[in-house]
């Protein structure tokens, strides 16, 4: 009996150790990235915080944003920083959870962050937006697409909003006569997916196609799409609109192939990254079309440089989230230079200065040429359409 207790105690200790080791290595890498960028001591550095999911189901986006932002920070620091001050960057994990995102924001506040790049996903972004507004902290989300992400005047975004994406998708399908009968499948439990869907339906009324099936799913039932696809097939849809993330989309494509249904599939920016799913049969994604602000195969010189540097640093091709974050950091830099921000300014002063500065700057980014912002927080730029062919992304126009 005694022996058993000892064994279980040892096992328990071992389990606890593994957990702690996990957390330990995580925070090590975070503080490592922060300290490596601060060549000068605190006080004369500008502290920028980042928030996003580095673990959990949306970790792909969080990691991409973290890497893209760190690459930009490294480049800016090497080139002399912002107004002569080096940037210190700290990225906190929110696991794509609103509550944890607010905790992450508070951690950054304690650390002394002067501007925040984040958050990466919509729901946490709305939550952080509320507290950041109360504190008057400048917030620039690289990829939070929900309308409410930039509800307050201290928040801006790099990506398109959900309604914008729905509107542009419907316009594109209509103007290019891709189909006359369209089915839409969307995640009614997700603000991103339903936001796009609603705008899509609204715009579809003005276009020359008809929505023959509109089917929903929720995050509690996001593995079986046989019914939704069957209904789309029975309704004779030639195009199926999939405004949600690629994790579910890869299942939809697989199940459609399983039931011998091959309409044209059309997605939004959440589709980006589908080819990076380990073990995914790229053949299934052939001819998949989606709206994306960034494509790594573009011949543009700035994009090519970004892609090469990113591959060198992290061993993978950047996706649009990395690009959004990269542009986000450069936008913060441009705005801070415009507003002549110095490290000794308070968070509120910086925020007030940046609110005006953001509307005055124009940056040549990797997600758009001459990217500008409106006071509402929305960027103004042209969408790009990407088609997957032979297992690679290609720009349609």
């Amino acid at each position: 009996m005694k022996f058993k207790k000892v064994v279980s105690a040892v096992l328990l200790a071992a389990m606890t150790m593994t957990c702690m080791a996990g957390c330990g290595s995580n925070s090590d890498s975070q503080s490592g990235s922060g300290s490596s960028n601060s060549s000068s001591g605190s006080g004369d550095t500008i502290k920028i915080g980042g928030i996003g999911p580095v673990t959990g189901s949306a970790a792909v986006y969080g990691m991409a944003v973290k890497n893209g932002a760190e690459l930009a920070v490294k480049e800016i620091n090497a080139a002399g920083g912002i107004n002569g001050a080096q940037i210190e960057f700290d990225f906190q994990d929110d696991e794509n959870d609103a509550e944890k995102a607010v905790n992450a924001y508070n951690t950054l506040k304690d650390w002394g962050t002067q501007a925040v790049l984040g958050t990466v996903t919509s729901a946490p972004c709305v939550a952080v937006g509320e507290v950041a507004q109360a504190d008057n902290t400048f917030l620039l989300t690289p990829s939070g697409t929900a309308v409410d992400c930039v509800k307050y005047d201290n928040a801006f975004r790099v990506c398109f909003s959900d309604p914008m994406q729905g509107l542009e998708s419907a316009k594109y399908i209509g103007e290019h006569n891709l189909a006359t009968k369209v089915a839409a499948i969307y995640d009614s439990s997700d603000v991103y997916s339903s936001g796009i869907y609603e705008a899509f339906v609204k715009e579809a009324a003005n276009q020359n196609f008809e929505i023959v099936a509109a089917e929903a799913f929720t995050k509690e039932s996001n593995s079986d799409f046989s019914v939704q696809l069957q209904k789309a097939k029975d309704a004779g849809a030639e195009l199926v609109f999939l405004p949600f993330y690629y994790t579910e989309a890869s299942l939809v494509l697989k199940q459609a192939a399983g039931m011998n249904y091959s309409p044209m599939f059309f997605g939004c920016d959440g589709m980006d990254g589908i080819l990076a799913v380990k073990g995914f049969d790229a053949e299934l994604a052939n001819d998949l079309v989606f709206l994306s602000p960034f494509t790594p195969t573009s011949e543009d010189e700035a994009i090519q440089k970004f892609v090469t540097d990113f591959q060198e640093a992290y061993g993978e091709t950047p996706n649009q989230f990395a690009a959004d974050a990269y542009d986000g950091i450069y936008a913060i830099k441009a705005a801070m230079e415009q507003a002549k921000v110095t490290p000794d300014m308070s968070v509120t002063d910086i925020c007030d200065a940046l609110k005006t500065a953001m509307t005055e700057i124009t940056i040549d980014g990797v997600t758009a040429k001459s990217l500008t912002w409106e006071a509402s927080g929305e960027p103004s730029k042209e969408p790009m359409v990407v088609k997957i062919a032979d297992g690679d992304y290609a720009v349609v126009e």
């Binding site: 279980s8 096992l11 328990l12 389990m15 593994t18 957990c19 996990g22 999911p53 673990t55 959990g56 189901s57 949306a58 970790a59 792909v60 009614s188 089917e215 929903a216 799913f217 929720t218 509690e220 039932s221 593995s223 079986d224 046989s226 019914v227 939704q228 069957q230 209904k231 029975d234 994790t247 890869s250 299942l251 697989k254 399983g258 039931m259 011998n260 990076a276 799913v277 380990k278 073990g279 995914f280 049969d281």
Partner: protein, 294 residues
């Protein structure tokens, strides 16, 4: 034709729920505890198959066997380390909370080892899809294998409990732990065996689940686990045929609800039906009536 197609999809989805529900129902019936980590054992089982096939290059059949052995051992370890010391604790809540803890532990271990990225799970089912009625009805190989395996497992398990000595011991333990011990039955061993069988079934369920819905993340097991728990309660928790009936009904109601009522309301419909059944028959469809002796 689409009606038949929906029905087959529903039965196939329900069969996966049924196999998972078996694990819940056996452990509950015999150890009188809810093993909420069951769903995560499924996920671990699927990861083991994935790692053996893509990592070690083993044939799928061998990988499934390894996964079954691995999960069986895992089930026994979880039971002896986390649950057994608490089985006689004053509150049965202690075991329940521990089970939730084990569930998170397994998820986070998988997160640490395999990362959060979604992995596309290559189906281990070698049977191609069958086309009927000139292509308007397609039955996937995974659906056939799932349904057939579900029936085989259910029959074997019922025979095992009815005919074998170990099965009889399980029945005895489920009826009265104290009395069973007095009769010379090794109660702890019997409970460990229950966990072993439950976890082996979890491995099979994991393979089937991920073959039919081929994405794998550390959270893959969580939602099917909860749905299967519902299926177990639906059919009458503690009853093996109840798990089968509950699982298949749940799958069929879910798919039909999506198809004919509203795809958005599917889960609300499933749980609504559950509430109605529990009001009419509080112990579930095949649940035993427990008579309180005064």
């Amino acid at each position: 034709m689409s009606f038949i197609s929906y029905l087959i999809n529903g039965i196939s989805l329900g069969s996966v729920y049924a196999i998972i529900a078996l694990g819940y129902t056996m452990v509950y019936g015999i150890a009188k505890m809810l093993n909420f980590a069951h769903g995560d054992v499924i996920m671990i089982g699927a990861y083991v198959v994935m790692a053996s096939v893509t990592g070690a290059g083993l044939p799928p059949f061998a990988a499934v066997l390894i996964s079954i052995v691995f999960c069986t051992v895992l089930g026994i370890v979880i039971e002896s380390v986390a649950y057994r010391p608490l089985l006689n604790a004053a509150s049965s809540l202690a075991v329940l909370i521990t089970a939730i803890g084990v569930s998170y532990l397994l998820q986070n271990i998988a997160l640490l080892i395999f990362g959060a990225n979604t992995i596309s799970f290559a189906s281990v089912v070698p049977i191609p899809a069958i086309e009927l009625a000139g292509g308007s009805l397609t039955i996937t190989g995974e659906a056939i294998v799932t349904i057939v395996l579900c029936i085989i497992i259910m029959t074997t398990l019922t025979l095992f409990i009815k005919k074998s000595k170990a099965g009889q011991a399980m029945l005895a333990v489920s009826e009265d732990k104290g009395a069973a011990q007095l009769m010379g039955i090794h109660v702890n061993g019997t409970i460990a065996l229950t966990f072993a069988i439950g976890s082996a079934l979890a491995a099979i369920a994991g393979v089937l689940l991920c073959s039919a819905y081929p994405t794998l993340t550390p959270y893959t097991g969580a939602m099917p686990g909860i749905k299967a728990f519902v299926a177990a309660v639906f059919g009458g928790i503690g009853s093996i045929p109840g798990a089968l009936i509950g699982g298949i009904l749940l799958g069929v109601i879910e798919i039909f609800g999506k198809a004919y009522i509203s795809s958005q309301m599917a889960d609300a419909i499933v749980f609504g039906v559950l509430i109605v059944i529990l009001i009419v028959k509080p112990t579930g469809i095949l649940g035993k009536n427990i008579q309180e002796k005064v």
